[in-house]
């Protein structure tokens, strides 16, 4: 192996852990991994990908969960002539017991290249590279081990949520339970593509949005509260006494809802001005805590640039209580899917459809009230469609 991949070898140097080292590690035991290394070296030399477009392969009963992949030089790299990946749905919050992880490792060593992504950007465990004939047995063993495939294609994708109540003091909703509950409810939608395009759900426990839901999810659930921030003035003073620069924090409050009264040693707070951005809480976790009337803001439409450009998610429900079994959210999801499926064109994500037909139309059809929290500001144009 040594010396055969001079370009990639460069990437074994340096302080950051090296993926090249990882491939080589796998390549010691696995021929596909070795061919992968060589294909990658060739790409570094040619400056072009050597993977062909597409591939439709899968497991019985599912329409997705596997990304088919073929090498464009099958003769040269027979071990990766077929090199499909499996997307495996991880436990909510990416918590693992080591035995579960080890099982996956064993299965993947048996059926695949031994290379993985922990995790893919959607949050799946990505098992990177196997042949068509291995897909079904590999899948069978995975389910045996308690794992199932995640989403791909025009389906509901693997849902993800932040660590939430498991380890975070700011989780306003039970992100893990919601993730798990929805995942179980919508197994069919995950495994059997049926819509105009993909659909993603992500759940963050608070406006810090640690799963970047607002940018990446068609359906974004973000925990929030309606009452006032709770302030422990004693603890605030304690921060300040220890040299904490409270002025710099106050200065960045977007609404000027907080101010620091140096004389009195009191953090003044105007609850009705606060937009619950989390900033002050983030900076003084021991002194400030979110309120207690908790729920979620629901937003829709986040996505990457294809086709009409990237979108950030848009608020559609400013506040919704989130209690198991989350019927309200499920009902909302079903209505949205139905509307989108009925009206959407092929490869039209929800945001693009809403833009095309209008948010007003969407709200009306879904049966959601128009409230000012939904927009930054009202229309500037005079073009009101009254008969639509």
């Amino acid at each position: 192996m040594e010396g055969e991949t001079p370009l990639l070898d460069e990437l074994e140097k340096g302080r950051w852990p090296s993926f090249v080292k990882e491939i080589k590690r796998a390549a010691k035991k696995n021929k596909a991994a070795l061919d992968l290394l060589k294909v990658q070296e060739l790409s570094y030399k040619d400056k072009i990908t050597h993977w062909k477009h597409g591939g439709i392969v899968g497991v019985t009963g599912y329409g997705g969960g596997v990304i088919g992949r073929y090498c464009d030089q099958p003769e040269k790299f027979p071990e990766v002539a077929m090199f499909h990946t499996l997307r495996v749905n991880p436990p909510a919050g990416w918590f693992y017991k080591t035995d579960a992880l080890r099982k996956i490792c064993d299965i993947w060593e048996k059926y695949g290249s031994g290379m993985t992504n922990f995790h893919g950007s959607t949050g799946d465990i990505i098992l990177l590279g196997t042949k068509t004939e291995n897909l079904q047995p590999c899948f069978d063993e995975l389910t045996e081990a308690g794992f199932d495939l995640g989403g791909s294609g025009s389906a509901l994708r693997t849902i993800s949520g932040c660590v939430g109540p498991a380890r975070c003091e700011w989780a306003m909703i039970d992100t893990l339970d919601i993730t798990y509950n929805l995942t179980m409810e919508f197994q069919d939608e995950i495994h059997r593509p049926r819509w105009p395009y993909k659909f993603k759900i992500k759940i963050s426990g608070c406006p810090n949005d640690c799963v970047a839901a607002i940018a990446r999810a068609d359906f974004t659930v973000i925990g929030t509260w309606r009452d006032s921030i709770r302030i422990d003035q004693e603890a605030v003073r304690d921060y300040v006494e220890k040299g904490f620069d409270i002025e710099s924090v106050v200065k960045k409050c977007p609404t000027e809802a907080i101010s620091w009264d140096r004389e009195k040693g009191v953090l003044n707070f105007v609850a009705e001005d606060c937009t619950r951005c989390m900033h002050c809480i983030n900076k003084m976790p021991k002194a400030l805590r979110p309120g207690l009337d908790r729920g979620a803001t629901i937003l829709v439409g986040g996505k990457a640039p294809i086709v009409k450009g990237a979108y950030l998610s848009w608020v559609i429900v400013p506040f919704m209580k989130m209690e198991p079994p989350y019927m309200e959210v499920k009902e909302l999801l079903r209505k949205i899917w139905d509307w989108w499926d009925e009206n959407g064109r092929t490869r039209e994500r929800l945001a693009e459809l809403i833009e095309r037909l209008g948010l007003k139309q969407f709200l009306r059809d879904i049966g959601l009230p128009a409230v000012p929290q939904i927009v930054y500001r009202p229309r500037s144009n005079p073009y009101v469609f009254l008969r639509r």
């Binding site: 370009l7 990437l11 140097k13 340096g14 302080r15 950051w16 852990p17 090296s18 993926f19 990882e22 796998a26 992968l36 790409s43 570094y44 400056k47 072009i48 990908t49 477009h53 090199f83 436990p91 919050g93 990416w94 918590f95 017991k97 080591t98 035995d99 080890r102 996956i104 490792c105 031994g114 290379m115 950007s121 990177l128 079904q136 308690g146 794992f147 660590v163 109540p165 498991a166 380890r167 975070c168 989780a171 798990y180 995942t183 197994q187 970047a212 607002i214 940018a215 990446r216 710099s248 960045k252 977007p254 989390m278 900033h279 976790p285 990457a304 640039p305 294809i306 009409k308 990237a310």
Partner: protein
Amino acid sequence: MARTDIGPPNYRDMLPEIIKRNYGKWKYHEIIRPGVLKHVAENGEELYSVRVGSPRLVSVDFIRDICEIADKYCDGHLRFTSRYNIEFLTDKKENVDRIIEEVQKLGLPVGGTGNCVTNVVHTQGWIHCHSAATDASGIVKAIMDELYDYFVSMTLPAYVRIAVACCINMCGAVHCSDLAVVGVHTKPPKIDHEKVSALCEIPTTIQSCPTGAIRRHPDPNIKSVIVREDLCMYCGNCFTVCPAMPLADPEGDGVAIYAGGKVSNARKPPMFSRMIVPYLPNNPPRWPEVVDVIKRVLEVYAKNARKHERMGEWIERIGWEKFFKLTGIPFTEHHIDDFTHAVETFRTTTQFKW
């Protein structure tokens, strides 16, 4: 036949005992050193998390290595973060140093907390994707080798999130990252007319183009399409639906660099990343020009931004014209938006800096 639709394992079965006990009852946290979080529960219990950088593209042996550490110090539990970092969770303070020691033995960095450069969200690149205009893992490695010190410390004005995507599909949150590298094609699709009819749905292919650049082949005998090159902006959407229209090209492919995006709602609302360098050629294995820009921008930001200011917040405060001045990055006509909502970026005021 195998069981289907069993869904993922129940997360409850994966949680450490201390978390089960204090689920939803955390009171506050502290970062006791870079890479180490201490969460304190209402009842006073303490949970320590040691955060460790991972290259993400790892072998099963890597997973086994970390499992071993978790078995030793964490009762067999561990988790991954939403940005690929590994977290070792323990209620025993004394285990923290041991975990760090073992982790470092594996050559892995401890850090990624607070005002640092945390792990780079990225994508497949030449490792697995047909769509890639560049490699992802390689660029990440090159960048993080250079920014390593920012991962293991917390000296920046605020969070810096970097992302790399190998094509403009932008798998990840590239479009809302403080700094982002995106693979770009710069040549229009090369159409294999022979294959189009067998491989592609022609109406779908025509409809796929966001700019309407694709038309039916003028010769009705040729069941294929043609592309108006002046209308093409190399998005690759046609290639996605029609394999007979590849855009990849060793000379044309390269990367663009973006800055100033964010996701959190803290202080300013989420923002899109904005193009700062329209194109740099692929220069594997270490993409030095790319690394240089990323590092330069990061350092100018570190020096100039105010406390708590994310990259985008800083730039919006000082103005983009000032950003280009401070970083020395040339502004070109390609920076000027000319897509659908372009007008929103045009300056409608005499207010600007020199």
